[in-house]
């Protein structure tokens, strides 16, 4: 572990109070997740993305920019710098979502842009209020300060939009319907996690907010998780199901982090890794199935396991990781979040378990419809073996992360312990 940290130690303190990057283990953990998901999406895109020259160049530029902005949010030590990276991500999401340029794609991209941009404008107002009240936006100087309700809520609205939670998730299903598969993977692996990262860095690690705020966040997270889980159960397309599933899972992460307890925070952090890897893998797999069968409607799919057994097994592992079945990584994350939730309120725990039950049901539905039973479409195009390997890689990471879960836990636990102890 120390080798990895040394390798990344060039990320030192910046000279200027504004252009300030730094981070410890938790930041490295997030950055590695983003880099991994970004790399896999990039490799997938290299094979899959075809188009006119300029368009492809733009695509890859924004793909890399999205990863860069994610890492920027992770390491930046100044709220204004975070905001800049945040807006770059918004911009990249917009350009990537409308890649195919049909009317619906452009509309989906515009939705993504308007919702995110509108919310981040409110966030900027929140930052301005903090600057006005505390005379600084540096995270190091803000540490331990108590800020009032208004800026906290305004900043949180920005987070809600990016991390697609209840009142502001509407852009996400549209974006997933339009975007190419690797972009979907990036959205759920990186773009959605950026909001979680900011929430963690600002509300959990740095400032203090009124207790009612965090309880409200936890309640909102559970409601969002339940509602999105229910909608996912009734989704008609693979992408629709996975999109609402992402919204539902984000609720678990907020739940774990909001109730600042040792197991909850640890579980929330593990959840980011588990979900980023598993959901990105699922989107890639769904993309392959769609391309092969020529449709995304679940009622028209079927029999994928016979056509591509390897893809089917890998997808099963990824789906079970999202559901939270041991020995996969998702299980340990979910257990941590649940312990955190129950430390605070029994109702939170019950809500979370019902949301988990939704996850189980819609994942069974997805797998049964797409992979089991008889094939509905007779012409199943061959699947690129390299792309299947990428999905298998994601499945292996989910499995290895679960079997060797003590690895990431040991990597994170000291920092989490000091963090929770500080509260």
């Amino acid at each position: 572990m120390s080798f990895v940290e040394n390798w990344f130690s060039f990320v030192g303190r910046g000279r200027s109070p504004w252009l300030d990057f730094a981070g410890g283990r938790v930041e490295l953990y997030f950055a590695l997740i983003f880099a991994f998901v970004g790399l896999v999406a990039l490799l997938y895109s290299v094979v899959k993305i075809r188009g006119r020259g300029g368009q492809v160049v733009e695509y890859f530029a924004f793909l890399v920019l999205l990863v860069a902005s994610g890492v920027g949010v992770v390491y930046a030590r100044n709220l204004l710098l975070i905001f800049a990276a945040w807006e770059i991500a918004t911009f990249a999401i917009w350009r990537l979502v409308l890649y195919y340029r049909s009317d619906e794609d452009v509309a989906a991209g515009s939705w993504a842009w308007f919702v995110n941009f509108g919310a981040s404008t409110l966030m900027l107002v929140g930052l301005a209020i903090i600057l006005f009240e505390e005379k600084t936006l540096s995270l190091d100087q803000l540490r331990g300060l108590e800020i009032s309700m208004l800026p906290a809520v305004l900043i949180f609205i920005g987070i809600l939009a990016k991390s697609a939670t209840l009142p502001l998730y509407v852009w996400l299903p549209k974006a997933y319907r339009a975007a190419p598969a690797p972009v979907c993977a990036m959205l759920s692996g990186i773009a959605e996690s950026i909001g979680i990262v900011l929430f963690f860095k600002l509300f959990v690690m740095t400032i203090r907010v009124p207790g009612a705020f965090m309880t409200t966040v936890a309640g909102l997270a559970i409601v969002s998780s339940l509602v999105a889980g229910g909608i996912a159960l009734r989704a008609k397309t693979l992408r629709g199901l996975l999109a609402y599933s992402t919204i539902s899972q984000l609720g678990f992460m907020f739940l774990g982090l909001a109730l600042v307890g040792y197991h909850g925070v640890l579980g929330g952090l593990l959840y980011v890794l588990a979900h980023a890897v598993a959901k990105a893998g699922l989107f890639l797999s769904a993309g392959l199935v769609e391309d092969a069968a020529g449709t995304s409607e679940m009622d028209e799919l079927g029999g994928g396991a016979k056509r591509s057994p390897t893809l089917a097994v890998a997808t099963a592992v990824l789906a079970l990781s999202v559901v939270g079945m041991p020995p996969l990584l998702g299980f340990f994350a979910k257990l941590g979040v649940l312990i955190g939730a129950l430390e605070s309120n029994l109702l939170f725990g019950v809500g979370a378990i019902i949301a988990a039950l939704f996850t189980l049901l819609y994942m069974i539905r997805l797998y049964t419809k797409a992979f089991l039973g008889e094939a509905q479409t007779p012409d199943w195009k061959p699947i690129n073996g390299f792309l299947v390997t990428l999905v298998v890689l994601m499945a292996l990471v989910s499995l290895a992360g679960g079997v060797a879960v003590f690895g990431p836990v040991r990597f994170l636990q000291d920092e989490v312990l000091t963090l929770v102890g500080a509260f």
């Binding site: 509407v170 909608i231 079945m325």
Partner: protein, 634 residues
């Protein structure tokens, strides 16, 4: 390497090797199972001596640890025995099935996972392997006939529901400072709300595994599509061993069930309903496997009843019944599987008269059927007897409900016998259909495991007190069990044998061998013993279906009205529909209107913004003026 790890890793490695080198999968899995039997026996022997512990790793302060004591020791041994016997049976039986590569892989993983569950020292460790077993179960149920995904999905929903309940229970214990150790110094009393909730949640997980009502519906569903070996291994023996093991652990070691009368009554009610409900469903079945699978549910009721009494004799009886049930139910599934393999069908209508051609299978089936019906001196009788004793004992302690439980248990036993008479008649006795004239006894690999299981049924019944109870059951409980009443199995056996001898003498000397044969008068028709006049067993108990309330309930049951997974799915899907059609649409529309509003506002502004320079200059001036006024005044 620690012996615990060896025991878990041997079948795991054998399974993975067999999966990679598909050609040698039979050899690898058999060697793995036999080796693990050897190690399991050593551990069992060791467990007589005392408790041994081993901590693997600590995750965020929660240990992943293993422990061996006398309760887990003997169940380990039996899991290994069943593994070997059923694998032996599979080699021939599974030949014509598709997906056997996956089948052997999953079988070995199931074996490894079960060892790990039994060796788990705390609930966290147990839950990890418990869930892993569920994943494997999903895989193994997918190996089956067309439509297997329905059963697999149902199992995943129901057992997954139980898993999530356990997850919540364990998280509750961890969050509220409860103990998750499976063998604490003093069992926790069940007085305060958190503890009761945790116990109920954990018990739901255990009951879902054991297949108690209403968490049973995946078992009959799986019997339609899965091979008989899977049914014999997982729902019939392993799941009972593991589920009842956990229930015993929870109610005797972790919590003290005796401290809460209401919980005990609830548990016993679940048991009584399971016994009766499932056996009624079994009566009217038309397929052998499905009928057997309902009995696999019904018998769980006795175990739950026994443990629910909270008395030492009842708990010991429940535990002994678990052991007996896995033996005879595995025997029943395997011998029925032999008949199915040799005839190619498992429909009761198409079977009949096989007893003469398949004597060993017939014998095994007969013994196991009598054992499950609780006929003395077989093992099923002894354990049921102990459960009855337990129920009578709580009656003595002032429980007003005890006659209800006792009647349910005894009535269940009678109905079990009735439904097995139907099976015995329609598979092995009765008239043989012409199509089955050339059926022979199953091969060596098929009858040896079944015969071993049947002989074990006899041995465990005749020598019940001196062998299985004394070496397996009594040492594994932390309390002293009073011997079960005045039942003397050896003496009783002798009396039964004498009775049978007298009967044989009467049969041989009397008129039994030469019954008076006369032409029966049926409207003047001469009855030919041919296909037309063959009496099958399907219609034995159709009168049950015509009973006023029971019949309706059975029909609802057959149509899935009491299927918990249907209920869960329906309610969840309904909720999903409500969310989608209200909240989601509302939000979507709301944002669209908001967008429209902004757009309209923009259009409004466009009347002001005409593009004339003078207007903008004027606006800048006015703005600057306001700015300065505010600055000067403020």
């Amino acid at each position: 390497m620690h012996p615990f790890l060896i025991l878990v890793c041997v079948p795991l490695a054998a399974g993975i090797l067999g999966w990679i080198i598909g050609r040698l999968r039979n050899e690898f899995s058999f060697i793995g199972a036999v080796l693990s039997l050897y190690f399991a026996f050593r551990l069992f022997w060791h467990s007589r001596g005392g408790i041994e512990e081993f901590e693997l790793v600590r995750i965020a302060g929660i240990p992943v640890a293993f422990r061996l004591d006398s309760l887990s020791g003997f169940i380990l041994l039996f899991v290994a025995v069943f593994g070997v016997l059923i694998l032996l049976f599979s080699f021939r039986y599974m030949k014509h099935w598709r997906g056997t590569r996956g089948y052997y892989f999953y079988m070995m993983l199931t074996l490894a996972g079960s060892y790990a569950v039994l060796l788990s020292a705390n609930l966290f460790t147990l839950l990890i392997f418990w869930g892993a077993l569920l994943v494997v179960l999903y895989g193994i149920l997918l190996v089956g006939r067309r439509g297997a995904e329905k059963a697999a999905g149902k199992a995943l929903v129901i057992v997954g529901l139980g898993d999530f309940a356990m997850l919540l229970g364990i998280a509750l214990l961890l969050a509220r400072g409860g103990m998750i150790d499976l063998r604490p110094q003093i069992p926790m009393p069940l007085h305060d709300g958190t503890m009761i909730l945790a116990f109920v949640l954990l018990a739901v997980g255990a009951l879902a595994k054991a297949g108690s009502m209403p968490l049973h519906t995946w078992i009959p569903q799986a019997s339609k599509t899965s091979p008989a070996t899977v049914m014999a291994f997982i729902p019939a023996s392993l799941d009972k061993l593991l589920g009842i093991y956990l229930l015993t652990r929870l109610s005797v070691y972790v919590f003290d069930i005796a401290t809460n009368v209401a919980l005990r009554n609830i548990l016993m009610t679940v048991g009584a309903v399971t016994v009766l409900g499932a056996v009624m469903m079994a009566l009217v079945q038309k397929r052998v496997m499905r009928l057997l699978s309902f009995h696999a549910v019904s018998q769980v009721g006795y175990m739950v009843l026994g443990i629910g009494t909270g008395t030492p004799i009842g708990i010991a009886g429940g535990l002994f019944h678990m052991l007996n049930h896995s033996i005879y139910k595995a025997g029943l599934f395997l011998s029925a599987g032999t008949a199915e393999y040799m005839t190619g069908t498992e429909e009761i209508d198409k079977l009949g008269g096989l007893g003469r051609q398949m004597p060993i299978t017939f014998f095994s089936f007969l013994v196991c059927a009598l054992a499950i019906a609780g006929i003395p001196p077989l093992n099923g009788f002894v354990s049921k007897w102990m459960v009855y004793q337990g129920i009578i004992q709580i009656g003595g302690e002032g429980n007003r409900l005890f006659p209800v439980f006792l009647t349910a248990a005894m009535l269940g036993s009678v109905l079990t016998l009735a439904s097995f008479l139907k099976l015995l008649h329609s598979i092995f006795l009765g008239q043989r259909p012409a199509a089955l004239a050339r059926v022979r006894e199953g091969s060596f690999a098929m009858w040896v495991p079944t015969a071993i299981l049947a002989l074990t049924c006899i041995a465990f019944g005749v020598f019940a007190i001196s062998f299985p109870l004394r070496s397996f059951i009594y040492p594994s409980l932390p309390m002293i069990v009073q011997p079960p009443g005045i039942w003397q199995p050896v003496l009783a056996t002798l009396l039964v044998l004498i009775g049978l001898g007298v009967g044989a003498v009467v049969y041989l000397l009397g008129t039994g061998r030469k019954p008076a044969a006369g032409r029966s008068f049926v409207g003047g028709e001469r009855i030919a013993y041919d296909e037309e006049s063959r009496v099958t067993g399907t219609a034995f108990y159709t009168s049950v279906k015509r009973m006023p309330i029971v019949g309706d309930l059975l029909r609802f049951g057959e149509e899935g009205a009491f299927d918990l997974s249907n209920w869960v799915k329906g309610i969840m899907a309904g909720l999903g529909g409500v969310f989608r059609n209200s909240l989601d649409l509302l939000l979507d529309r709301g944002y669209q209107y908001l967008g429209q509003l902004v757009k309209n506002a923009g259009q409004g502004l466009s009347y002001v913004m005409t593009g004339r320079l003078t207007l903008y200059l004027a606006m800048i001036l006015v703005g600057a003026a306001i700015f300065y006024v505010v600055l000067l005044l403020g």
